[in-house]
Amino acid sequence: MTLPPISTDEREQLAAELALGVLQGEDLVRARSLYAADTQFRSSVGEWLGRFAPLLEEVEPVEPGPQVWPSIERRLGAPAAANDNVQSIRRKLSLWRGIAVGASALAASLAVVVLTRAPEVAPPFAAQAPPSMVAMLGDERTGGLLVASWQPAQNSLRLSAATPLPGDPAHSHELWVIPADGTPRSLGTLATAAKMQMRVDRQLSRQLQEGATLAVSVEPVGGSPTGLPTGPVIASGKLERA
């Protein structure tokens, strides 16, 4: 389908109308084909959406039904550690439920969120499939830096950074787990990439329990020479059940 050329003003108007959602029929088709084909038009629509978006702040949050998350999980495909998942996520939901999602509430730093939460006591006997854990490593100044997620069933510790860790040829970043006894154990040094996945020594993986702290410190290249953190800690957070 060939569309007649349109002026800059017309384009801007059409972008606004598409973002606002008032278009129908031919105009909608026309706007959508422009959106698909033209990055500049797409940016105009994006800017209009940004202008209108503050209106969404006034919409009251409503709790969706409890079956929605399990349905999403099903659509994602069978999770690896299926046993624990639904229950652990329910627990997580109830923990988080009290936290409002309004912009102001979200301003509360990660550290505050973690600190104000009542600690959960780990069960005395480990379940057959050890539960997945997640930790958000941040500091109060910058907010979240890293998300760590521990899947014991796959022996996989994944880390995702908001921004790649600052590269500094003279230093390495080292990840530590600090269990209840307070003694840091090294999990290894981190690459500067935004995401990484590591395997954890079996002995060490027992320390990755709910409530244990994960921390990243700045160390000499190759890691701390002493086996304990020597440099400043740039991010830390507690492991929680996913």
């Binding site: 959508r32 698909a36 994006g46 999403i72 997580k92 912009a103």
Partner: protein, 190 residues
């Protein structure tokens, strides 16, 4: 524009969700569950306001998180805050569902074809505007313009519906809104 130009934008708006979205982009399901628990009531509020039907709103909510699962990599923290990005996805998905309900099948098919192509990108650019500024600028419009713009964005009213509600011809409604949008942009850019 460089993000460093507007540090005020990034700090207070749910920055802690940035690494969560990053983790989702890396295929981390746990991160998706965290994101869901933090944001689903806000996003469901938006879907249910637009659709006014529980089953449909929950269905769209699922689609929203499936989209986020697939497209989290396209989130750009320098362009928008995570919550706004998510809220706009929810709002757009709900609007699409509304259209499915009300559009004639003929135009719908054509529109859907194109929609599939464009779904690859979710473009959202927040400048410095905040809700107070938008409210002030909306207040400068004629009351009916303000009313119609809000009804369109928040309730999904289309041009024909707005014209019918206000009892004016379609052409009149279009020119009201277009004039209103021009003025709104001018005010926000001041």
């Amino acid at each position: 524009m460089d993000s460093a130009d507007r540090p005020s934008r990034s700090a207070p708006q749910g920055r802690e969700l940035v690494p969560v979205l990053r983790a989702v982009a890396n295929g981390d399901r746990t991160a998706l569950s965290v994101l869901y628990s933090r944001t689903s009531s806000k996003l469901y509020g938006i879907c249910s306001r637009l659709l006014d039907n529980q089953a449909e709103a929950e269905d769209v909510l699922q689609e929203v998180y499936m989209t986020v699962w697939g497209k989290a990599g396209s989130f750009d923290e320098h362009k928008a805050s995570p919550v706004t990005w998510l809220a706009v996805i929810a709002r757009n998905k709900a609007i699409d569902r509304l259209r499915l309900r009300r559009t004639g099948t003929e135009t719908l098919d054509a529109a859907q074809d194109v929609a599939d192509d464009s779904a690859s990108a979710i473009e959202l650019i927040e400048r410095d505007q905040d809700s107070r500024r938008l409210a002030n600028c909306l207040d400068e419009l004629e009351e009916r313009q303000q009313l119609c713009i809000r009804a369109a964005f928040l309730d999904g009213a289309s041009y024909p519906q707005l014209a019918e509600r206000q009892g004016v011809p379609l052409g009149t409604m279009k020119s009201w809104i277009r004039r209103g949008l021009l003025r709104l942009k001018g005010c926000l850019e001041q």
